[in-house]
């Protein structure tokens, strides 16, 4: 018996090299890249995408490797989130990355979902992530082929929110993303992979795919906190990643990134002003204020935008406080970020 909403018939292209995958994307930019499929297949079933073919990259062995050197960790785009969550090297070097990986969806998803897929996660909106019947009955929006954004009808852009957990951790950790394209490979800072535009939030050129992530080990302390309605299987109302370094008791590096509030994972600006200071009440209050002022949640979820803003700010304060606490410096990390 056919399920009520059958998956459309699709051609599957199965390259075994990065170059072949890029060639397939160049040949038809509408082809979608399939890795774990935990986001893509749901969107296909809901008719959000209608690619002529899927480029299944899971056969490219090179993309499924984790390599560590003294100063960096290289993670292939196909590395599964459960592996990131369980790898002791990741946990000891990049706590925020482990905590973000384990915060994604539910165990079944994490066994399939990849780090590259989570970085390239489609933006989400309550007016978009519905069935084809729903969108047609309600009326399409900018992201689903219509003329207006139902969240902010007076504006010209799409406000669908980026909701991946891994990206803010990598941004806080100052990771670089390796991208392969027709012109070869290039690297960008993770924050520069994204635009503040819900329809086209990824800054990938035609034919490009994400191949790897390189995370420096230079930032000692990091963490990720995620707020959601239920403790598993839920996108973030807001998620905050922080990476920091202290010299003596004073901050010598501080990066804060937020997810769930904007169309991109947002790197918070102005944290340099806090360098040289101890992580005390005034620094925590300043970090909270920086986040509250910069995030731009809109009514893209069933939960109020102002709540998501308050929670993002509160998480930033809590996480920075935990990272600044003596036990965090001893390498035990904080208790947050469980699935």
């Amino acid at each position: 018996m056919t399920a009520p909403l059958p998956l459309p018939r699709l051609r599957l292209i199965r390259p075994t090299t990065v170059e072949a995958a890029v060639a397939a994307r160049v040949e038809c930019p509408q082809h979608e890249v399939l890795a774990g499929g935990t986001d893509l297949l749901v969107n296909l079933r809901r008719g959000l995408l209608a690619p002529p073919a899927l480029i299944d990259i899971t056969g490219i062995a090179e993309l499924d490797e984790v390599r560590t050197t003294a100063d960096r960790t290289r993670i292939g785009a196909l590395v599964r989130l459960d592996r990131l969550a369980e790898d002791p090297a990741i946990a000891s070097r990049h706590a925020a990355l482990r905590e973000a990986a384990v915060a994604v969806a539910a165990p079944g998803h994490r066994r399939l979902a990849t780090v590259g897929g989570n970085l390239c996660l489609q933006t989400r909106c309550i007016y978009v992530n519905q069935s084809a019947w729903w969108r047609a009955a309600h009326g399409a929006c900018l992201k689903s082929g219509g003329e207006v954004c139902h969240v902010a009808p007076e504006g010209a852009r799409c406000h669908a929110a980026f909701s991946g957990d891994v990206a803010p951790a990598l941004i806080a950790l100052d990771a670089e993303i390796e991208i392969a394209g027709p012109a070869g490979r290039r690297r960008v800072a993770c924050a520069d992979l994204y635009h503040e535009e819900g329809r086209a939030h990824l800054r990938l050129d035609s034919g490009e795919i994400v191949t790897a992530i390189e995370v420096p080990t230079s930032i000692a302390h990091s963490g990720y906190l995620k707020e959601r309605i239920r403790r598993s299987f839920d996108f973030p109302l807001a998620g905050v990643a922080i990476a920091c370094r202290t010299e003596g008791a004073e901050l010598s590096a501080l990066r804060i990134a937020v997810t769930g509030t904007n169309s991109r994972p947002l790197l918070i600006e102005g944290t340099d002003a806090l360098l040289g200071r101890r992580i005390d009440e005034s620094v925590l209050a300043a970090a909270e204020k920086l986040v509250a002022r910069q995030v731009r949640p809109m009514r893209t979820t069933l939960f109020p935008a102002n709540h998501r803003r308050s929670v993002a700010a509160a998480l930033a304060r809590r996480l920075l406080g935990a990272l600044g606490a003596p036990d965090a410096a001893a390498g035990r990390g904080h208790a947050g970020g469980t699935a």
Partner: protein
């Protein structure tokens, strides 16, 4: 008190292994060979006149075998004979987004989908109302022509001298409590399989129903068929909770498609469609006023309830009656005024859901009682103890209370939770709260009055010694077939393995009204015992003939019939059966159960609703942690005690108690349907959030046995009573933890944070006002 030897820890459900091994076949797993695929076109519009519905192009599409519209259904349907105002496919008007307007059957799903896309529907839009207040506005357009003010039903009941009660009270308080609409969210999506034989004009229907008899009745009515040509079979059903206690549009449409196609049609609804079919707990606003003496005694209660009922009647009249009638029956209330308003709106129709009608008013009552006790300096347990009933008694609204174990429930959870030592001594951010609840063991007056017994069970015994119980009762996961097996086995002195149960097939089993209002254990259980006793009598007589003694001297136990006081003078059960079959052949005996008229409620209009043979009672304590930065509430532990009369199967009772607590927790913490201009924005398990295993606390479930005088072995219901006390206990625990009184459900983090912010603002204003003095 019965011993139920060998089952005192309880027995696993007799169909449990089938389920966990995947052998169990649910409706969508049935033999679909040769079946056409049925699909429905749904209204994109909330409210409007259908000006054109052209199905011609769909009909012409190769592979399409049947196309239906509302014009193919001449007769309306509905679960209540007094309120049948719905058609399986909309006729003339659409009243909510997602209402089915046309249906097709085709050779496969793709063709069916394509056919739907070829149907042309034009609707002249009318104003749409998504909130009860909008629909009740003076200038609102009528959703149903015969219902002015868009009121489906008003209820006004007053019992006792309410004014005198409030005058005598030392403390009178009033609160406005809002409870969100929720959904059953049963795991199995809706599905049906219908087969029509054009040669014999017979219809065989298999569906996810909790009420196969009502389905049988409505199929005959809407297809205008002779009842005797219909057979209804209930396969395994993956949960109901009330979602399937009335006949649903897709069931009637699937059957009609099968007849139109002259064959077999399978319909499977998506999760979204299952949500849209709805029939669950309505959004409810409760204005409640209580009067309390300094001694903690309740003096008077005034309660106004407004339910946003959705677009069609369904069970609405019963829901709004339950909301008032079950104010009674838990505590000793000397005066009660109830005003209920069931409102039509342009949202999917609401219906019955676990704790039908009682949950939201019970929530408001317990919340307000808790706050008033606090104001009077009374312990929450103490204020409940001062208002206990004493069975047997009758309430003001003529509900019979035959057994009452609430006092023991209170003692059990107070002690288990360490309430006396811990309440008020937890660190800030942690809190304890408690509340009580109750529910009926089946409605004493059936919806369709026929004069028949409330339940019939047949038990057959044959040459091979096998015992088979035939019941129409629908096991939907609650374990009713296991209960029947235990009741028969216990009465016949047999191990449970020797009893087979055949359930819910109209061709073989006696009619049963179905799985709702927790009626099966009480009614079907008693009928099963009655049948088994009659059989035991026949076997005893046969044994006496063989043993050459008086039947009064024969005992039946342990699989044997023997002479009293001489266990060696006896015969086996199988030998007794062989003896009984001589000259008779296969024996089939019938047992029945009928609720006496005095249990069927008061004579006032609507007085039958809430009447029952026995109420279950529950008390529970909830412990929470509240994160004041994020508004997140964590349920740390739950202690619950349920008086179910007698636990026929303690294992199943514990499962039901835990399920009720968990479902109450979902409503209290996060479950909520949400409509955007009438579009269901919640219609997936991603957006309709239920607690996951990580959100689920340890539940200490205790069974209290008050031994009801009329219950089977003393049993009452066990699956609904513990639900309604969760939410008020949670709200009380939140108040204890962080000092905010929440007036809305669910207690989502945004609502908690808003309440905390509002309290801080109030405190600042109070400080300013105080400083100015």
């Amino acid at each position: 008190m019965p011993t139920l030897a060998g089952t005192r820890d309880g027995v696993p459900l007799i169909d449990g292994i089938d389920k966990v091994t995947g052998r169990a076949r649910y409706t969508a797993d049935l033999d679909h060979r040769g079946a056409f695929v049925g699909r429905m076109l749904r209204s994109p519009c909330s409210h409007g006149q259908i000006t054109r519905l052209d199905v011609e192009r769909a009909r012409q599409l190769p592979g399409v075998v049947a196309v239906l519209t509302g014009e193919d259904f001449r007769v309306p349907y509905g679960v209540l004979p007094i309120a049948m105002n719905e058609y399986p496919l909309a006729r003339g008007k659409v009243r909510y987004r997602g209402e089915p307007v046309a249906a097709v059957a085709a050779i496969d799903a793709e063709t069916a989908e394509r056919a739907l896309s070829l149907i042309e529907l034009d609707v002249r839009e009318l104003p749409a109302y998504y909130e009860a207040a909008e629909a009740r506005a003076a200038d609102a357009v009528r959703i149903h022509d015969d219902k002015p003010g868009n009121l489906e039903r008003e209820v006004h009941h007053t019992f006792g001298d309410v004014a005198a009660g409030f005058a005598a009270a030392d403390l009178v308080r009033e609160e406005l409590i809002d409870c969100a609409e929720i959904n059953h969210a049963q795991i199995e999506p809706h599905a049906a399989l219908a087969e029509f034989d054009p040669f014999t004009n017979r219809l065989t229907m298999q569906s996810v129903s909790q009420v196969t008899f009502y389905l049988h009745l409505m199929l005959a009515r809407c297809l205008e068929m002779d009842e005797s040509r219909i057979r209804v079979i209930k396969p395994f059903v993956g949960g109901g909770f009330g979602a399937r206690v009335e006949v649903l549009n897709f069931e009637l449409v699937t059957a009609m498609l099968a007849r139109a196609a002259g064959g077999k049609v399978a319909m499977e609804l998506s999760r979204e469609e299952t949500f849209i079919t709805h029939r669950a707990r309505p959004q409810t606003r409760i204005r409640l006023k209580l009067g309390l003496g300094r001694d903690g005694r309740l003096r008077a209660c005034e309660c106004e309830v407004v339910q946003r009922g959705g677009a069609y009647a369904g069970y609405g009249v019963i829901t709004i009656l339950y909301a008032g009638s079950l104010l009674h029956g838990l505590y000793d209330l000397p005066a009660v005024k109830y005003d209920g308003y069931r409102v039509y709106t342009n949202t999917p129709p609401c219906g019955a859901m676990r704790g039908h009608g009682s949950v939201d008013t019970r929530h408001a009552f317990e919340v307000l009682l808790d706050r008033m006790a606090r104001e009077l300096g009374l312990d929450p347990f103490e204020v409940r103890r001062r208002n206990l009933l004493h069975a047997p008694t009758r309430t003001l609204n003529e509900l019979a209370i035959m057994s009452y174990g609430l006092a023991e429930c209170l003692d059990r959870v107070e002690s288990a939770s360490g309430w006396k030592a811990r309440r008020g001594r937890l660190p800030h951010g942690k809190g304890l709260g408690m509340a009580c609840s109750h529910y009926v063991s089946g409605a004493a007056k059936p919806i369709h009055w026929t004069g028949e017994p409330h339940a019939v069970v047949n038990v057959k015994v044959d040459w091979d010694g096998s015992v088979t119980a035939f019941t129409g009762a629908a096991d939907i996961g609650q374990g009713s077939s296991t209960m029947v097996a235990i009741a028969v086995a216990e009465t016949l002195g047999l191990p449970i393995e020797q009893v087979r149960v055949i359930a819910a097939d109209s061709a073989t089993t006696p009619k049963d009204n179905g799985a709702y209002s927790s009626r099966i254990t009480f009614m079907v259980g008693n009928a099963a015992i009655d049948a088994a006793r009659r059989l035991r009598g026949m076997l005893t007589e046969a044994a006496a003939r063989r043993l050459d003694c008086d039947p009064a001297d024969v005992e039946c136990a342990g699989g044997r019939f023997h002479v009293t006081g001489a266990t060696d003078r006896g015969i086996t059960f199988e030998e007794a059966v062989k003896a009984a079959l001589v000259d008779q052949g296969t024996l089939t005996v019938k047992g029945t159960f009928t609720c006496p008229p005095e249990a069927q409620g008061g004579k006032h209009r609507g007085g039958a609703v809430g009447s029952t043979m026995g109420f279950s009672y529950a008390a529970q304590v909830v412990e929470v942690s509240v994160d004041e930065d994020t508004g997140q509430v964590t349920v740390d532990r739950v202690w619950v005690a349920l008086d179910c009369g007698f636990a026929i199967n303690p294992l199943a009772v514990r499962g039901q108690i835990e399920g009720a607590v968990w479902m109450g927790m979902g409503q209290a913490l996060m479950e909520e349907t949400r409509y955007l201009n009438g579009m269901p924005a919640h219609a997936s398990f991603l957006e309709y959030r239920m607690p996951t295993s990580l959100d689920s606390p340890p539940i200490d479930a205790q069974i209290v046995e008050s031994i009801d005088p009329n219950g089977p072995f003393g049993a009452k219901e066990a699956s609904e009573g513990a639900l309604a006390s969760f939410a008020p206990a949670l709200v009380a625990a939140i108040a204890d933890a962080v000092g905010v009184d929440l007036d809305e459900l669910p207690a989502t983090p945004d609502r908690i944070l808003d309440a905390l912010v509002a309290r801080r603002r109030r405190q600042r204003l109070d400080a300013v006002a105080g400083g100015g003095r």
